[in-house]
Structures are given as structure tokens and as C-alpha cells.
Amino acid sequence: MIGIALLVAAAWAFGFRAAPRLDAGEALRLAGEAVAGFAGTRVDLAADGRAALVHGADGRTVLVRGHGNRWVVRPVPPAALRHDAGAVVVDLGEPLFPTTIFAPAAPRIAA
């Protein structure tokens, strides 16, 4: 356990704790790589740049969400999307997958 603590502290001290921000191009790329046959055409970015909703030409929607310094991607079924006081809420109902909230007036970016 001492060894574990030492290595985790070293990783933190060496600066391996970045939380990168998404841009539209990156969100489109990540969604296309993770979901077979998906081609995004429009991106809604979260205000903090840590999540994006990517809308496809075929009507599908894909969530890209930050996880450490990497990203987790999921197709979003329509039932998992709801609007709440102007915000878009994505709740996939998956254990330990946090609810993602897109604040009102998130910038809409055409691909």
C-alpha cells in the first residue's frame, strides 16, 4: 500500500492530472471513432468544454464526456435525453455514469 501511495503521489506531482477541454472537431472525431457507422454533423459543447452532444445525419445522438484526461463516448437513446429549465439533461441510467447537463444556450457548432 505504501508503494501504491508513492506511485499515485508521484503521478500527481509529475502533473499527470490534466482535464482537457473538447472542441467541436475533437468531439466529432471521438464520436465517429467510438460508434460504428456514425457521422456527426452538429455539436453542442458543454460550457466547461468537458462534454459534447454530437448529432448525426441519421438522427442519432452521441454523448462525449470527459473522464480524467480521456473521453467516454455513448450513443444516447431518445429516452435518455430530457429538457429541464432550458438545459439539456443526459441520464443514461448506466451505473456510475454521471448525469450530464448542458446549460442553456450552449453554442451550436456546425461541422
Partner: protein
């Protein structure tokens, strides 16, 4: 003759090697870490060691019991240790292949692939539930053939220690034709890739010749995207350990017939939602991946 546990001897080397890799990356070498990901990987390794303590004696006793019914009396010599090492590596290949192609075994092994990082700490991200999935069964024929149980466990330990060092992006290719014979960092990066062309490839432990022989070899031609098809959104070690078991239980309950229940347990991972490795490969467009250097 006594045989040490190679893993016990190697643990201090593992710690120094991980620190050295972090430093190398900080000074510009290829690779990446994330401190919470590293914590999860190391806690999974710790839990794996605890599971070995709990179940190890039973597995040891089972091996010794089977050895009583051995086909041959194989003496302990340098040559038979080498032979046992080779056969153990072959057994490892088939264990590993099954661990990717049969969901029951995958439920344990998925833990090792659940990081989106590929570094030396990923090597230590190991299952807590291996004994439950009976993954040790693949090694049992070695006892029945007649290899001394001490030798079987010794060469198994050597195999594990070797595999630790292939979990790095710092090393690009090995020289002297070793890439043709050995499982190398390059070959194993492919194994951890989720790029369609890399799924379920390069199962070898120490030797890559098994993959070349059994048709599962894939060279590193584009930059791998590490992780699993549905990457986890948590660093919680308990969920990392059990998430696929929970998914199996959920799919068994939801299945409409016995075939569905059987395939939820013994089919390939992704069978239920059509996301098997073969299906993903078939759906994938011709690769536009980033070329590997």
C-alpha cells in the same frame, strides 16, 4: 530444488520502473499517465494479490492433486523447465484467447483492458475474480502431463513478470528480429487497442509465434486507441472489478429464451447488442487511423 516466486522478487523493480517511465514521459518520451487511473490500476493489482492469497492455496492443492495422476514422471532439469515455460506460454495463449472470446472469462479479464491508458501501471490492473471464472483451468493440463507443480508456478510467474514490461509506449520496436518471436510492446499495444482491426488480436504472453501460428497476429500499423469498446466512466475499483459480471446477470435476466441466457454467459462479448469484435470489424470503414511511427 527450490523455486522462488518471481513476482515477489519483481515488485520493487515494478515500482522503480513505473517511476522511471513517468519521468521519461515527463522528459518527452511517448506515453501518458493519469493519477486517478494509476490509483485504480494499482488498487486492482493489490486486490488481485489479495485474491491470490485467498484462493492460491486451493489452486496449489488442486495442481498437486492432479499431479498425482500425471501421465509422465518429468524430472526437474533446466531442459524440462524450459519446456514447461514454452507449454505454459502456449496454455496462456489459449487462456488469453478464451478470455477475449468467451464472455464468462472476459468478465474477469476486462479489468485489465479497462484503462484508456497504456503504461506500466496498466500491467498491474488485474482482476479480482479470476478464480471465480476458473481461468486457472487452462494451466491444469501441465500438472496432468507431469510437470512438477513448483515448476509450473515458477514459469507462470516468469511469464507474468515478462508481460509487465511490454505495457509501455516508451519502447517502439525491439531490435535483432525479436519482434518476430516475442510479444513486444508494439505487439501488445495492438492487443490493447480498440481500433476495429486490433480487436481480439495478439494474445501471446511471451512468444508472439502462437499468434502467427493460430492466425490472430496483427502488426501495429496505426496508433492504438486504448481501452474497451464501452469505456468506463468511473475510477471506482469495485465497479471496475464487477461491472461485466453485473452486465452478464442483467442480460441473463433479460434474455427471452435459454439460447439467449447461454449466449449472455458463454457467447462472445457484445453478442447481445451486436457489438462483437467481428461485427465491429465488419462495420468499420477502411481505416483512417493515425499511422504508427
Amino acid at each position: 530444488m527450490t523455486f522462488p516466486d518471481p513476482v515477489q522478487f519483481a515488485v520493487p523493480i515494478f515500482i522503480v520502473a513505473i517511476l522511471a517511465e513517468m519521468l521519461a514521459i515527463r522528459f518527452g518520451a511517448r506515453g501518458d499517465y493519469e493519477w486517478r487511473d494509476t490509483a485504480t490500476s494499482l488498487l486492482m493489482g493489490f486486490g488481485n494479490t489479495m485474491a491470490a492469497v485467498v484462493f492460491g492455496a486451493g489452486i496449489l492443492a488442486l495442481g498437486a492433486a492432479l499431479w498425482e495422476y500425471r501421465l509422465f514422471d518429468i524430472p526437474v532439469t533446466a531442459a524440462t523447465v524450459v519446456l514447461c515455460f514454452l507449454l505454459d506460454d502456449l496454455a496462456y495463449y489459449w487462456f488469453h484467447r478464451s478470455a477475449h472470446e468467451v464472455r464468462w472469462f472476459w468478465a474477469s479479464h476486462v479489468v485489465h483492458h479497462s484503462s484508456q491508458h497504456y503504461n506500466l501501471s496498466t500491467a498491474l490492473r488485474q482482476t479480482w475474480t479470476g478464480p471465480i471464472s476458473f481461468s486457472f483451468a487452462f494451466r491444469l493440463p501441465l500438472f496432468l502431463i507431469g510437470f512438477d507443480p513448483r515448476v509450473v508456478f515458477f514459469v507462470g510467474g516468469l511469464n507474468l513478470v515478462y508481460q509487465f514490461f511490454v505495457h509501455t509506449e516508451v519502447v517502439r520496436r525491439l531490435p535483432f528480429g525479436l519482434e518476430y518471436i516475442l510479444n513486444t510492446p508494439s505487439h501488445h499495444r495492438v492487443h490493447h487497442g480498440t481500433n476495429p482491426r486490433y480487436l481480439d488480436r495478439n494474445y501471446g504472453g511471451v512468444l508472439i509465434v502462437w499468434d502467427r501460428l493460430f492466425g490472430s497476429f496483427e502488426p501495429e500499423v496505426e496508433a492504438p486507441r486504448y481501452g474497451i469498446v464501452r469505456n468506463l466512466a468511473t475510477f471506482n475499483p469495485l465497479w471496475v472489478a464487477v461491472h461485466e459480471w453485473v452486465a452478464i446477470a442483467r442480460d441473463v435476466i433479460a434474455a427471452r429464451d435459454w439460447r439467449g441466457r447461454w449466449m449472455a454467459v458463454a457467447g462472445p462479448p457484445g453478442w447481445r447488442d451486436g457489438s462483437t469484435a467481428a461485427a465491429i470489424r465488419a462495420q468499420a470503414a477502411p481505416s483512417a487511423g493515425v499511422p504508427a511511427e
